[in-house]
Symmetry: C2
Subunit: 481 residues, 2 copies
């Protein structure tokens, strides 16, 4: 058989496969034309474009299962995709062109909302923001919240165990999920949509699929926890000298406020300087600059008056104990929103400043101050042309330890050092017992790095599980492991 005969046979196989997919879910939902496929093949940050036989859009769990069984029959790899907002190239195919993208977008029904059980049962393709609104419609809070909430899907949030801004109080997506419906690599449907707080009947299959980035099976629906809506949310911006002071403030706030503490974000002065430079419409809230700031949020089940008393008492105690230098309280929802804008604008301010290198790392909270000191010094020693733009969810131990080039330094030259800079930062993270991916996952982007930092035993167990559940390596191959 010649090479061209092989290719022809392969093309024929694909056309049989495509026909079978069309027969299973309808002509409208099997996209093969390049323009139709395009938006599914490039990642959100436009760093990578892959190829695919087709983008397949099943409309129900049964149709997802049917497609997976066809993929088994024709030996076609599957890249599951939700909102395609991931940051680690986990939801786009590679360039081989031998896979399909399986978009969950049409599975977008809220199957049930149960305010008494504090749960909602939702399909994987639901947009996160729509689910937040569906919860609010019955006076409940779905606390999962992140920058991409207007376009990311709950299936993607589950597949990547998304973090976001409410982890300190409510946990990661994993902690918000009680049950899953999953299509296995063999195209069977695991019906695990249980809305139970306690269920000790065998292995925890739910948490195995959560965070597996679609490499073990396809999440098609989930039972998510919802909560009473807090009666008040108050925000303060606190000025401090050092990250060590921020840690002391965190401990004080945790003791003072317990579960009412729902946000605790650290920002260096350079972060706010960049925001001030690129968003001049924002008025800097302090009369002087300080080396670091903490944005602190309280949510109260009682009343705004009560939250206000609690926050004032906390800040008085912090000032008295010299844990902070100054503080600004938001006394209205609008003021609170403005304070949050300082935090939320850092990424885009840094982007307007120019190209930069991001690190999504986590550390034992008690070691963060030392980590910053040590790693800043290591970086300065190797790359004096670096500027640290360090901020993050300090309450969760999660730092966005980002690095920009010095003013006037060549961006191209700076980016050419990316892997060396990653190595310095991630080696330091590893030394401090931290994680090189706090909330973004591994995808295709950090797969090689994972092998450097994860122990051989853990990698071995992960490979064993992958091989057992997906022996033909059809589920999102080339991602995670």
């Amino acid at each position: 058989m010649t090479i061209s005969a092989k290719l022809m046979r392969s093309t024929t196989d694909f056309s049989d496969f495509i026909s079978a997919c069309i027969a299973a879910i309808g002509n409208d939902y099997v996209l093969t034309a390049e323009p139709e496929k395009a938006s599914f093949l490039t990642d959100q940050r436009r760093r990578f474009t892959g190829q695919a036989i087709a983008v397949v859009k099943p409309g129900s769990t049964a149709e997802v299962a049917a497609i997976v069984r066809l993929c088994n029959q024709f030996n076609v790899p599957i890249v599951p995709q939700g909102g395609n907002t991931g940051l680690v190239l986990g939801s786009v195919p590679d360039r081989s062109g031998n896979a399909i993208v399986l978009s969950l977008g049409r599975l977008n029904r809220v199957r049930a909302v149960d305010p008494v059980n504090h749960t909602m049962t939702v399909e994987a393709g639901c947009i996160l923001q729509n689910l937040q609104e569906a919860a609010l419609a019955v006076e409940r809070l779905l606390p999962l919240s992140l920058a991409a909430e207007g376009s990311c899907t709950i299936g993607g949030n589950l597949a990547t165990n998304a973090g976001g801004t409410a982890v300190l109080r409510y946990g990661n997506t994993r902690e918000l999920c009680l049950g899953l419906e999953v299509v296995t690599a063999q195209g069977e449907i695991m019906e695990g949509l249980r809305g139970l707080r306690k269920d000790n009947t065998g292995y925890d299959l739910r948490d195995l699929f959560i965070g597996a980035e679609g490499t073990l099976g396809i999440i098609t629906a989930a039972v998510m926890k919802i909560f009473p809506v807090p009666k008040a949310q108050l925000t303060a911006l606190v000025a401090l000298q050092t990250p060590a002071q921020a840690l002391r403030l965190l401990t004080l706030a945790q003791g003072h406020c317990g579960a009412a503490l729902t946000g605790f974000e650290l920002m260096s002065d350079l972060c706010l300087q960049l925001v001030a430079r690129h968003m001049p419409q924002l008025t800097f809230p302090f009369s002087a600059r300080h080396p670091h700031y903490v944005l602190l949020e309280l949510s109260d089940s009682e009343s705004e008056a009560h939250a206000s008393t609690m926050l004032e008492s906390l800040l008085a105690s912090a000032l008295e104990n010299k844990i902070c230098q100054d503080a600004v309280l938001a006394i209205s929802a609008a003021q609170s929103k403005t304070l949050w804008r300082w935090r939320e604008s850092i990424s885009s301010a840094q982007a307007r400043e120019g190209k930069n290198i991001k690190h999504d790392v986590s550390l034992p909270i008690s070691r963060i101050a030392e980590f910053i000191t040590v790693t800043d010094a290591l970086l300065q020693a190797s790359f004096p042309e670096c500027r640290n733009v360090t901020f993050g969810h300090l309450g969760d131990g999660n730092l966005h330890y980002n690095v920009s080039p010095a003013i006037g330094y060549s961006e191209e030259l700076f980016l050419s050092h990316q892997s060396s800079i990653n190595l310095v930062v991630h080696d330091s993270v590893h030394q401090f017992g931290g994680s090189i991916s706090a909330e973004h996952g591994i995808g295709a982007l950090k797969r090689e790095e994972l092998l450097r930092y994860k122990s051989a035993v853990e990698i071995g167990l992960m490979k064993t599980i992958k091989q057992a559940l997906d022996p033909h390596n059809l589920m999102n191959p080339g991602k995670v492991i």
Copy 2:
């Protein structure tokens, strides 16, 4: 080869194995004499006594790994054991006599306590109560609390994903654990003692070992979350007409108190009647009897005065909305303790009343009232000689749906119906989307029942994982799956 020759060879193999164990961990820690082994072979409720080649007590993780490797070499099954307080025959060997009991009791060091990271790193054999005290020594709370806390071990709590009285606020043992050290079925050490709130670097191996009841590997140490100690805890006993009213009170309390609501226990009048009959030293707190009661606990990070105001306002609202008929507030720690004694004495009062049949079930919280009505009626129809002694952690959806015989009815005859009664109750639980094991696990006791209620796909996935991680079926065989 004759049968006796086979037996002799088998005995010889055991003696080689025993010698190798002694060489690995020392003569004092390999117990082969029957009297020394006895207490490890019978379950806590004295329903079953198994056999074992030896009880092996390694003193370190490395020694656990060495023993597991010897078990692989000699093909000897392993029954890991903590405090042996389990309720489903998960920690005792079967009667074949071909296994060892591997006791974790000597791994009892607290390796680290980090009050700023709110974590403690502990070995599997630590007694739960000792860990609660170690946390209190640094002004932190380890919230895991259950009846057996004076003798159960954290390794057993993790292996069974123990529940207990604080799940409503703090979650099950699973939610309290950040990292694990595990000896795999091959005798390798998985070093996963990370104290991180966020870590998205691959499959969730931690949650796979938690709740697996020692069938996939042996947990040797863990990083557990600890919390600020609440400043005040207040308790109320509330009298109501129906479980449906209890649910309305729960929703009201969750809205009113948010995360301050740390206990919500339902008890039927018969429960308290049994306590009153068998613990006459307790004074019934109401002037009249009511069909149901709720024991409600608030924990407050602020002050006793604040907690008191919150509780009074909640109860006033409940009375006003006719959600409850009466309420008693504990205004001191001693009074609070007395109220809790009514709840905590139900099991022993029921035991003093005579033999009974227990069900540890969970349900979607919104369906509990209907479940009780329907299941009570089903039971009465099939077994009119039943008395329901229903109580449980309503806030978690967990009912101890226990059944006693009618007064004067033969206990023997009653117990002869046990499997039929289990079938009525568990079929009903399944109909309502519940779980036949909320917090006790499966062990050897509920293994057959699991096959009735778990879907074929889930059982298949569990078997695939078991086969992949423990291909020689050496880890606690005959348990769970």
